[in-house]
């Protein structure tokens, strides 16, 4: 387990590292549906610093995956496209890049792994064939060298019997093995950033822990930044350095993992933490957040969380709160923050 104190982090949770590796600025990603267009990511800004594990948390449909796909340039366009904003990587705006240049960045500099490792692997090609193809799309390497590199990477990510597995088809592997293959495929070119979109959601609980462990090991050994997308706060607690909480297409709170779990400021984050089952308490019932996620087509004029918020003021219904830092330096989006009480 990597603790946040291993790395230079200011007390406020803002990194002292000179520059972010990846900087998303004012990202608006919109979906077109039945002639109408609406934003599913609404002005999101997020920095990913070298060597950190940043978790993007939120419930289904809040725009986490769309944010990740925006970075990768893999939005299903049409109907989803980036309407506005910049995604800076080494000072270069990925949104403005051409297809060819974007292809060169994928897997080589920024890699991504996906949720369901069965459907995410091509069923009619062997693991080795696809990995060799990915390597050779980026490196001037002959097939047998590429195959060796693929085998080495599979071994590194803990796939048993890696050389034989090069000739396996996805259906011949278990869920955990498939996810290791996905990880190997994403890491084979030693990227600077790994985006992992719910990498353990489709796996057994025991396998989940192994895969998370593997991801963390790789992240440390390769000095790579990792943007982990999840809805699972247990995963966040065990792996993250920093956390960004998303709600209805925007970030509502961003803090170091310790700060966030100790003293969440935004009512949505507080609600998420209260909804977690706890072993220590005798209480039987969980504490869900009342209400439903708003439709992004019909957002209220004020704070998007206001309809579900127990502490909403009149002002919350009228104007959307900005993302502002508090005295400790972390940021959240709320006019009326309350102290966190466990239930």
């Amino acid at each position: 387990m990597v603790s946040v104190t291993d790395r230079p982090v200011s007390p406020s949770g803002h990194r002292t590292d000179p520059a972010p590796l990846l900087s998303i600025k004012g990202l608006h990603t919109s979906v077109r549906s039945r002639g109408e267009s609406f934003d599913v990511v609404r002005g999101l800004s997020l920095d990913v610093y070298p060597n950190e594990v940043l978790c993007l948390v939120g419930e289904s449909g809040c725009g986490k995956s769309i944010t990740a796909l925006s970075v990768m340039g893999l939005l299903p366009d049409p109907p989803v496209r980036i309407r506005e904003g910049e995604i800076l990587f080494h000072g270069q705006d990925l949104v403005a890049l051409g297809n060819k240049q974007m292809r060169d960045i994928r897997a080589d500099s920024i890699s991504m792994i996906f949720q369901d490792p069965l459907t995410s692997l091509d069923p009619v090609f062997t693991v080795g064939e696809v990995m060799v193809e990915v390597i050779r799309a980026h490196r001037d390497m002959n097939k047998s060298d590429a195959r060796n590199l693929a085998g080495e990477t599979l071994a590194k990510v803990g796939l048993p019997d890696p050389i034989t597995r090069l000739d396996s088809y996805p259906h011949q592997l278990s869920g955990g093995m498939r996810q290791r293959v996905m990880i190997a495929m994403a890491l084979v070119l030693d990227p600077e950033i790994l985006i992992a979109d719910e990498p353990t959601t489709a796996l057994d609980v025991t396998v989940q822990a192994q895969i998370l462990d593997q991801l963390l090991t790789e992240q440390r050994e390769r000095n790579m930044a990792m943007l982990l997308i999840t809805h699972d706060l247990a995963v966040v607690a065990s792996i993250a350095d920093r956390v960004a909480v998303m709600y209805s297409g925007e970030i509502v709170e961003q803090a170091t993992v310790d700060e966030l779990f100790e003293n969440p400021r935004h009512p949505y984050t507080q609600g998420l933490l209260r909804a977690l089952p706890k072993v220590s308490t005798v209480r039987q019932q969980l504490d869900p957040i009342p209400g439903l996620v708003p439709y992004l087509q019909f957002l209220p004029p004020g704070c998007s969380f206001a309809p579900r918020c127990p502490h909403a003021l009149d002002r919350c219904w009228e104007e959307p709160p900005e993302l502002v830092p508090d005295q400790e330096g972390r940021v959240f989006r709320c006019f009326n923050p309350q102290d966190f009480t466990e239930r």
Binding site: L74, D104, R106, D108, V124, E133, V134, A137, M185
Partner: protein
């Protein structure tokens, strides 16, 4: 391997059963085989003598085993009408049919697959609309009518192509297109839907995230996945070509196996009709067997894990 063996055994069983069916069907269909052999003025006694000589008075099952026995020993027999050797008929007409069948096969897959891919990649465009309209028309129009229409337009009206005959390239065009049309239309539709289905699969996103070019992602990966259903039904397409060849060869006067078979059946030329029916059955079975083997080649999920 086990699967291939099982399919082979299955094929032999079906062939044996169809030989019985063919043998009985032609004998039970009425008409007189002797009529083809003797002059119309021949007396009843003469006819009876010929019938006895040909063994047609024996019980059916004895005739059947005699026939199968001589087939197995390599004696294909002779035509009742003109005494022509069935073996040489097979090589001569078989060659013509092979030319026509191969041309149709190339049209069905060589044109059908690219058209289907084009429609899927230009989804909802004019290309897609045009190709799909053509495909629906191709499936809906019966081939005998299409043949007449094509002859009227390209031979009679425009004079571009000959209306019948064998076997110059120009003479091949019309029968090959007519023979291929339905299979071509079906292949277009199937390729399009298989491509579209696979274009939306998660693995496509993974391959793109690996930085592969669209040419590789679509041309190699999506296409290979789309090939699975296409290959699995390739046997049916070939069967269709074989079956329709009877009609198309007759209309265009293409001297192939189909035409020989149709004539033999009409004249109750038992040995010829039997043999060529079995040849067609064998071709259909073989092509299904090949498609089956091909299916497990293109679909690794069928191989043992």
């Amino acid at each position: 391997m086990k699967r291939v063996l099982a399919r082979t055994v299955y094929m032999v069983i079906v062939l044996a059963l169809s030989s019985v069916a063919v043998f009985y069907a032609i004998r039970l269909s009425g008409g007189d085989a002797v009529a083809a052999r003797v002059p119309a003025s021949a007396s009843a006694e003469d006819r009876e003598a010929v019938r006895e000589q040909l063994g047609l008075n024996d019980p059916f099952h004895e005739q059947y085993f005699d026939y199968i026995g001589s087939l197995v020993s390599g004696d294909l027999g002779n035509s009742l009408t003109n005494n022509a050797q069935i073996g040489s008929m097979l090589t001569e007409h078989g060659r013509n049919s092979l030319i026509l069948g191969a041309a149709a096969f190339i049209l069905v897959f060589g044109v059908g697959i690219p058209l289907g891919m084009l429609a899927s990649l230009r989804r909802n465009s004019w290309w897609d609309g045009g190709i799909m309209t053509f495909s629906v028309a191709g499936m809906a129009v019966p081939n005998f009518w299409l043949a007449l229409l094509a002859v009227w337009l390209f031979a009679t009206q425009l004079g571009w192509l000959p209306s019948a005959g064998c076997c110059s390239p120009k003479q091949l065009v019309l029968p090959a297109v007519v023979l291929a049309m339905e299979g071509l239309a079906l292949t277009v539709r199937m390729t399009r839907s298989a491509m579209l289905e696979n274009l939306n699969q998660d693995f496509v996103r993974t391959l793109r995230s690996g930085g592969l070019s669209e040419v590789k992602v679509i041309g190699r990966h999506v296409f290979r996945n789309a090939l699975v259903p296409i290959v699995s039904l390739a046997g049916l397409r070939i069967g269709q070509i074989v079956g329709y060849a009877l009609v198309v060869e007759t209309i265009f006067g293409w001297p192939g196996l189909g035409q020989v078979l149709v004539n033999a059946v009409l004249r109750r030329d038992y040995p010829v009709a039997q043999f060529f029916s079995l040849v067609l059955v064998t071709i259909v079975l073989l092509s299904n067997w090949l498609a089956d083997v091909g299916y497990s080649v293109v679909n690794p999920r069928l191989r043992r894990g």
